[in-house]
Each structure stands twice: as structure tokens, then as C-alpha cells.
């Protein structure tokens, strides 16, 4: 059920990429970004040693990248080891979108992370989701790098 939704979203976005042709083809790595997904560590904090607290997204997307899935698997392993911990997934968007749409997008991103954690055995009872849209950027700059840092889902300990 969850998986089918991930797939459905995946298809939706894949379709959009086809339609725009250029979107998927030119993913080059430049400094701290791959395509327009942030790959740096400036803003990343750690839930435990080796367990990054956040994952990053491409513009307008909520699909998890390979690196994001790896981060979330580490988070899942940590959560399985610390079974009393509950978390809030805080979804965020960059400033290049309308406020209300970005609230929805932040929610979709946080839920993409939640769905993935659940497929790695973390119960939904331990996860709540909170979208901030574009209200809480980590980087106040208005440039592609700043925006890439702000398109994120952050896992925060809730207890």
C-alpha cells in the first residue's frame, strides 16, 4: 500500500521529467551538489555517531535519492537499537514556491522519509510528521546552494 504510493509518486515525477526532457539528463556533480540535490555536510547534524539527521531533495521533488536512502537506513538501524526513542520528521521546502504549496510539499517530503523508515521496520507509532514549508530555512541565502540545503527532511528526537 505504502510502496504502491511511492511507486505512483515515482511514476508521476518520472513522467514530468520525460516531458521536460532536460531534467534527468544533466546530473553533474558540482561542489556540494549533485544535480540540484545538496550532498555537502555543512548543515547536517548527527543523531548518533555516523547517523546523519537529514536528507535532501531535488527542486519540487519528494523522491529519495540513493544517498538519502542510505542515511535513512542508518537512522532505521539506530531507531531499532533505541526502541524507546520517538521522532518527528520535519519536512521543508526552499523559498522558490508559493507558501501553501510548499507546506504540502514539505509534508510530502517528510512522509517519503517516514514511508522509507517504516519499510525498514520502524513503527508509525514512533514517527510524527511536521511540515514547515519554507518557513524555517537553515540557510537564509537566495541562491541554488542555499535552496538545496533548505529542501530537506530532518529527523528530530521527540523524547
Amino acid at each position: 500500500m505504502k510502496l504502491s504510493k511511492i511507486l505512483k509518486n515515482g511514476f508521476l515525477i518520472a513522467f514530468a521529467c520525460l516531458a521536460l526532457s532536460a531534467c534527468a539528463t544533466s546530473k553533474k556533480t558540482t561542489g556540494q551538489m549533485q544535480g540540484d540535490v545538496y550532498t555537502g555536510t555543512d548543515t547536517v547534524e548527527y543523531l548518533a555517531s555516523g547517523v546523519p539527521d537529514r536528507v535532501f531533495f531535488a527542486t519540487n521533488e519528494s523522491v529519495l535519492t540513493t544517498a538519502s536512502r542510505e542515511t535513512l537506513r542508518k537512522q532505521a538501524a539506530w531507531l531499532r537499537k533505541n526502541s524507546k526513542i520517538t521522532i518527528v520528521l520535519e519536512g521543508h521546502a526552499d523559498e522558490r514556491g508559493t507558501r501553501e504549496y510548499n507546506l504540502a510539499l514539505g509534508e510530502r517530503r517528510a512522509n517519503a522519509a517516514k514511508d522509507y523508515l517504516m519499510t525498514y521496520g520502524i513503527s508509525s507509532d514512533r514517527i510524527s510528521v511536521l511540515s514547515y514549508g519554507k518557513e524555517r530555512p537553515v540557510d537564509s541565502g537566495s541562491n541554488p546552494l542555499a535552496w538545496s540545503k533548505n529542501r530537506r527532511s530532518v529527523t528530530v528526537k521527540a523524547n
Partner: protein, 446 residues
């Protein structure tokens, strides 16, 4: 609310208007009509009484200044400099010497008188066509002295109506989000002010994030999004009493609220499990209805003024676009097909247009299109701006814009701006702090 009521006591029917001045507001007005606003005359006794109550030296001049400022910001009128006026206010109000006013190129003249009668403020005013040498309108009303600013707005509304043939929009208020602090930890409060920026009042303390306040078109209620206790939910606030209640307490996030045109329902988005759908809630019986059903993001709903249709934005095509559907959720049609992404559709109170925010090639635009998506017209372009809200007569849009505050393109400032539907007369609306998400009230007096 009681003391806001203003009783119209005398309405002298104006002369038939054939051949008198008219102002065309359907086009950009590059030659605003020269108008002389003679200070309202006041006798010494009334002046002293008002000075005691209101701490204003000459309430007649104060009210005239409000009228003058309103006329100026409308962009349709050019209030003339008072220093050039030859006739004393009291005599002008009885019988203007039209040749004197003609000499300073005034085409319209506003005169009047304010007096203190049984602890109330009584005002009478007249609008004169200088070229025709005729009175166009004469009105009088009485209110509590504290309403003196509203008296100025009501006079402007009547003058605007008489000269343009359209309802005015001056006796109105704006609710918005007052902002302070760095972008990463912005403090946001609900605030309300008169349309001209006066009487600013903060309605929340800034302890929790608040967004997107919207006026009920029929009452003093406001709906908005609050992050109270970190639970983003749609709230209802009564401006008169200050009471707040949560209305969208669903197990997920509720956001993007607006009232139906009759004020009886709230339409909003509800996000759960990564999917945002549009719902309505009846405020009387609290019955909730789901309107959209699609795995995409459906948000920013806005009713047509007859309540029969809803415009909203959805990314079901891959990117944010504007759609229109019947108010039961049937007949969904995409209406935006231009280049770029489209959001925040808001239906004009006149019913014929939808205002929107558009993002294309890194620029934000405020624009309008017909309700079938044809006739797209972009009114203003900037680095970042969004969230148009219509004046109650559908002639002016208010929105907010963020600008960079230093040359390196860093730092930022968010301000409210207004622009005429014609694309002319763009101006900043004064606010004591930064501001965003403005919503225009209906006319307070009808």
C-alpha cells in the same frame, strides 16, 4: 461593533448626472483628476470639544487629510495643494466661487463641515463639479468621535462611487502577518490595520508561527493557520472578542483556509500521508466534506463569489497549475497553460477574473486571467512576491514582496504592496514592521 455603526441621517439626492465629471477606472489612469479637498470647516466651540476628546487640534483638517491621502493612493485623483485655495472652507461649503477653483485647475471640489452635536461627531460634505458649476452630491452623518478616521474613509468611498460609478474600498481593513527577525527564525504575528496603514494592532504575541489569515466576507471573523503547540491547524479568530478556536483539528496538517462567499463554510487543505486534499467544513454543524480525491497536492482553494465553483492549485500534471471545479468537486478543469508554474488562485469578487502568483525563469509575477484561463495578464514582476488579495470592489490587488536589502543580494525585507487591476499605480502599503500574506476585508459600512 456597536460603536462602529454609523447612522446615515440625511441623504440629499444628487442632481441627475448627465454631462458631469466621470472617472474611467477600467484603464490605466495617467492623468489623475485634479481635485480640491477643502478642509472641513469647524466652529471654535466644536473644535475645542474635539480637541479635548481626540487630542487633535483641528479635526476638520485631519479628516480632510485622510480623504486627500485616500484619493491620492487610488491613483485616479490628484489632490491639489491647499496653499493655492482662495476660498475659506466655511464659505466654500455654502456656495463655492467656481471661477476661483477653476483658476487652480480643480475639476472637482469637496467641501464640508464638522460639528460636535450631543457628544457625537456630525459631518456634512458636498462634492461639486467645478466646470459645470454644480453640486454632485451632498451627504451628512453622525457617529461617535472616535470614528473620525472612518468618517474620512466613508467620505472618500462616497466620492469615489459618485465619480467612478463603482463601489469604494476605503472604509476597509487589512489583516496580515507582521514579521520580524532573521529569516531562519522569523517571528510572525497576526496584525490588523486600516486600509491606509493607520490603527495597526497586533492580534497574536508571536509565540507561535502564524500564516495566511483571511477575512470572512460577511463578519469580523478571520481564519488562519497557526502552529500552536507545533500542530499546524486551521483556526478561527473573532476580531471583536479575541476568541480563537481550532476548526481543522484532523489527524494531520490543515492549512490554506478561506471562507465561502456566504461566510458559513471554511474551505481548506488537509495533508496526511504525503497527500493534500481539499475539504470544506460547515461552521454551524461542523460537517466536513472531502472535495478533491487525487494523489497529487491539491491546495490554495478559493470560491467563486456565487459559491458555485472553486479554483485551486494542483501538481497533478507534474507541476503546480491552476484548476477550476464545481463546488462539489466535479468537472475538474485545468485553466493555466502558460509557461511556468502557477499558484494561489483567488477569485475576484466581481466573478470574472482569477488573480494568481506565477513563477517563471526565476521571477515571480502577480497576474490575472479569466476564469476559463484565457486573457492572462501579468501585472507585476519581481524577484519574489506572492499571495494577491482583492479589494472588495475587485479593482485593486494587495500582495507581498520580498526584496534584498544589500548589494550582495543578502538580507531581506518583506512588505505589502498594492497594484491596480490595470497594472498601474503600484505602491507600498505602510506597515510598522515587515509584513506578508495580506487579506482585504469587505466594506465595513454598507
Amino acid at each position: 461593533m456597536k460603536n462602529f455603526l454609523i447612522t446615515l441621517i440625511i441623504i440629499l439626492i444628487p442632481f441627475k448626472s448627465f454631462g458631469l465629471i466621470e472617472v474611467d477606472i477600467t484603464r490605466g489612469n495617467l492623468n489623475p483628476l485634479p481635485v480640491a479637498v477643502s478642509p472641513l470647516s469647524i466652529n471654535e466651540e466644536s473644535r475645542k470639544n474635539f480637541e479635548n476628546i481626540l487630542k487633535k487640534k483641528n479635526i476638520g483638517s485631519e479628516i480632510s487629510s485622510i480623504v486627500e491621502n485616500n484619493l491620492k493612493i487610488s491613483g485616479l485623483f490628484n489632490p491639489l495643494n491647499k496653499d493655492a485655495f482662495l476660498q475659506e472652507p466655511d464659505i466654500a461649503n455654502l456656495k463655492p466661487r467656481f471661477e476661483d477653483w477653476n483658476l487652480i485647475k480643480a475639476q472637482a471640489l469637496i467641501t464640508g463641515k464638522v460639528s460636535y452635536v450631543e457628544e457625537k461627531l456630525r459631518v456634512e460634505f458636498r462634492l461639486w463639479d467645478v466646470l459645470a458649476g454644480k453640486e454632485m452630491m451632498a451627504l451628512a452623518f453622525t457617529t461617535v468621535p472616535n470614528n473620525w478616521r472612518r468618517v474620512g474613509h466613508i467620505i472618500t468611498d462616497k466620492v469615489y462611487e459618485r465619480l467612478t460609478g463603482e463601489r469604494g474600498y476605503f472604509d476597509t481593513r487589512i489583516i496580515y502577518v507582521a514579521e520580524e527577525g532573521p529569516k531562519t527564525q522569523r517571528v510572525k504575528k497576526l496584525a490588523i490595520m486600516d486600509q491606509d496603514g493607520a490603527n495597526n494592532k497586533f492580534l497574536t504575541l508571536g509565540n507561535e508561527l502564524v500564516l495566511t489569515p483571511r477575512f470572512n466576507p460577511t463578519s469580523q471573523l478571520v481564519t488562519y493557520l497557526s502552529y500552536f503547540r507545533n500542530l499546524p491547524r486551521v483556526y478561527l479568530l473573532d476580531i471583536e472578542t479575541g476568541t480563537q478556536e481550532v476548526v481543522g483539528d484532523f489527524p494531520g496538517m490543515t492549512f490554506a483556509p478561506r471562507f465561502s462567499p456566504d461566510g458559513k463554510k471554511i474551505i481548506m487543505s488537509f495533508a496526511k500521508d504525503g497527500n493534500s486534499e481539499i475539504y470544506t467544513m460547515d461552521l454551524e454543524n461542523r460537517i466536513v466534506e472531502k472535495i478533491t480525491n487525487h494523489p497529487s497536492i491539491d491546495t490554495s482553494p478559493s470560491y467563486s463569489p456565487d459559491g458555485k465553483f472553486i479554483s485551486f492549485n494542483s501538481d497533478r500534471s507534474g507541476y503546480q497549475q491552476i484548476y477550476v471545479m464545481k463546488s462539489d468537486g466535479s468537472n475538474v478543469k485545468r485553466i493555466s497553460f502558460g509557461k511556468g508554474i502557477y499558484g494561489t488562485p483567488v477569485w475576484s469578487p466581481r466573478g470574472d477574473l482569477i488573480a494568481f502568483t506565477k513563477l517563471h525563469k526565476g521571477k515571480f509575477y502577480i497576474g490575472v486571467m479569466r476564469t476559463d484561463g484565457s486573457g492572462e495578464r501579468l501585472l507585476t514582476e519581481n524577484f519574489y512576491q506572492e499571495a494577491p488579495s482583492w479589494s472588495p470592489n475587485g479593482r485593486v490587488l494587495i500582495f507581498y514582496r520580498e526584496t534584498k536589502t544589500d548589494s550582495r543580494g543578502e538580507g531581506f525585507s518583506a512588505k505589502l504592496w498594492s497594484i491596480d487591476l490595470t497594472g498601474y499605480n503600484e505602491r507600498q502599503v505602510p506597515t510598522p514592521t515587515d509584513g506578508s500574506d495580506p487579506s482585504w476585508s469587505s466594506l465595513l459600512s454598507n
